[in-house]
């Protein structure tokens, strides 16, 4: 029998902080930005959750709910380091492990034995080796494993087979369905759906008409049908980097002109990354001199980036460090590597109200509506002139709808 096991770490960031500093154990720990700043809660210990504090909540709201809360600035390097240890631990149980995010992973297990016993061993190993706790969902469907891991948190284990869906899943509220937020729940309630079972009993044609493809997907999920499968990193789509480069019409020795071009390329790279819902932890600068000698200079960052401002800031430092531009430059390129899904990247960043983060989707929408070059960093203007003279694709007239 083949099973999917979803391992979901309990209050992960807060638990790691409590593990590192035993003085925090048993106390309401809130990981995120400092109170009084425009930041959000990344994780809250169960002691803080008892006061109503939740991940994603503004820190000032968390402080109001839990005045005795201990606010800790997050440490993404520590959390990632622990995640890698978790994935390695899980690989002892199955070669098929899919890291789903920094604090959750799927395993595929084939056994004729007691899958609960395997689950208990996984939980015990996590507790003894990482001094952390996890909740497990086990099913013959990957989606159901994900759903049921949340049924009995913390330190819980739930087994939910497809055959048990009407009995165990249908009485549950709508928000256990993956992707159902407040708005979708409202629309489902308008159709008379209050539970998962109601969604399963609603004709697909009705859900399709009212909610489109989302409705069809929700119906399949409510019936316990899914096509999800455990995908190991080796099997994942090969999207190792997103890059752009540009060959100049004539060799350039002026650093500010190269920076302007870097700014333009940073915007393109960042926009492509956001379109793919990816962010990158490594920025690599590529420069070629008039004699076709090429160098690359990169940097691994503590956080993944997907905004032009961030990519450009790193690229500028790399340019400064290389001093290669003094030899003259005929080609400039930037690539974003070590790609991770944007959601996971934001989870680790802790600056949820970041200016560039908020601005980028707006910039994307303006570009989608008025053309690629309708808006951009002021610094790119010089590059725009340069590229236009070179007959490059940049700075076309805006495409006004």
């Amino acid at each position: 029998m083949r099973y999917a096991i979803h391992v979901d770490m309990d209050a992960y960031f807060a638990a790691i902080e409590q593990r590192a500093n035993p003085n925090l154990r048993g106390r309401p720990v809130i990981v995120g930005g400092a109170p009084g700043t425009r930041s959000a809660v990344a994780s809250a210990s169960y002691e803080a959750r008892a006061f109503g504090v939740r991940a994603g909540m503004p820190t000032h709201e968390a402080q109001r709910l839990c005045p005795a809360g201990i606010f800790v600035t997050g440490n993404s390097a520590h959390y990632l380091h622990t995640s890698v240890r978790l994935y390695r631990l899980l690989e002892r149980f199955s070669p098929r492990v899919e890291p789903a995010s920094v604090d959750e992973a799927y395993l595929e297990i084939a056994t004729t034995g007691d899958v609960r016993a395997i689950g208990r061993r996984i939980m015990a190993c996590i507790e003894s080796e990482l001094q952390l706790t996890a909740s497990l969902g086990i099913s013959d469907s990957k989606y159901l494993a994900k759903v049921c891991s949340a049924f009995d948190k913390p330190r819980g284990m739930t087994v939910l087979r497809r055959a048990d869906v009407p009995q165990k899943l249908w009485p549950r509220p709508l928000d256990v369905l993956f992707g159902v937020g407040e708005k979708t729940a409202l629309r489902l309630r308008a159709l008379g759906c209050a539970t998962v079972g109601d969604v399963a009993r609603t004709p697909v044609s009705v859900l399709d008409r009212e909610l489109g493809v989302v409705g069809v997907t929700l119906h399949a999920m409510a019936c316990g049908q899914d096509r999800w499968r455990v995908v190991t990193p080796d099997e994942a789509v090969d999207a190792r980097s997103i890059g752009h480069e540009h060959t100049l019409e004539r060799d350039v020795y002026d650093r500010s002109a190269i920076e302007a071009l870097l700014s333009e390329l940073s915007e393109r790279v960042a926009r492509r990354a956001r379109r793919a819902s990816m962010a990158g932890r490594r920025v690599v600068l590529k420069l070629r001199d008039p004699r076709f000698f090429t160098i690359t200079h990169g940097r691994v960052l503590p956080h993944a980036l997907d905004t032009a401002e961030d990519v450009f800031a790193v690229a500028r430092v790399l340019l400064e460090e290389s001093r290669f531009w003094e030899r003259g430059v005929r080609l400039v390129g930037i690539s974003l590597q070590m790609l991770v899904p944007s959601d996971a990247a934001r989870q680790l960043r802790f600056t949820f109200a970041g200016r560039a983060d908020q601005k980028s989707p707006v910039v994307d929408r303006i570009r989608a509506k008025y053309g690629e070059h309708a808006i951009g960093l002021a610094r790119s203007l010089e590059a725009g002139r340069r590229l236009r003279h070179a007959g490059g694709p940049s700075f076309r007239p805006p495409e006004i709808e």
Binding site: N21, N23, I70, N75, H78, L80, T82
Partner: protein, 83 residues
């Protein structure tokens, strides 16, 4: 309350089984004996590795230490002295 300190310190370490294990450090003209290393992780700053350690002292004070492989400098990055 955990405070960001970011001050250079002197650290005595053991090399045990391929690992670095700090056991004493001097900060503000005081010597702190490390009772337990509660966490160790690393990240990079450019080409250099930075090793981080969370430690508890004999008095149950909590500190985070950081070693930079480029300049070989130890820094006290955080402290929580309220036990």
């Amino acid at each position: 309350m955990i405070e960001s300190i970011q001050e250079p310190i002197e650290v005595l370490v053991r090399f045990v089984g391929g690992r670095i294990e700090p056991f004493r450090f001097r900060w503000n003209q005081s010597v702190f004996r490390i009772a337990k290393v509660t966490g160790a992780w690393e990240d990079r700053e450019g080409q250099y590795r930075r090793l981080h350690f969370s430690v508890l002292t004999d008095n149950d004070d909590y500190f985070e230490l950081r070693f930079h492989s480029g300049d070989f400098i130890w820094v006290l990055s955080k402290a929580s002295l309220d036990g």
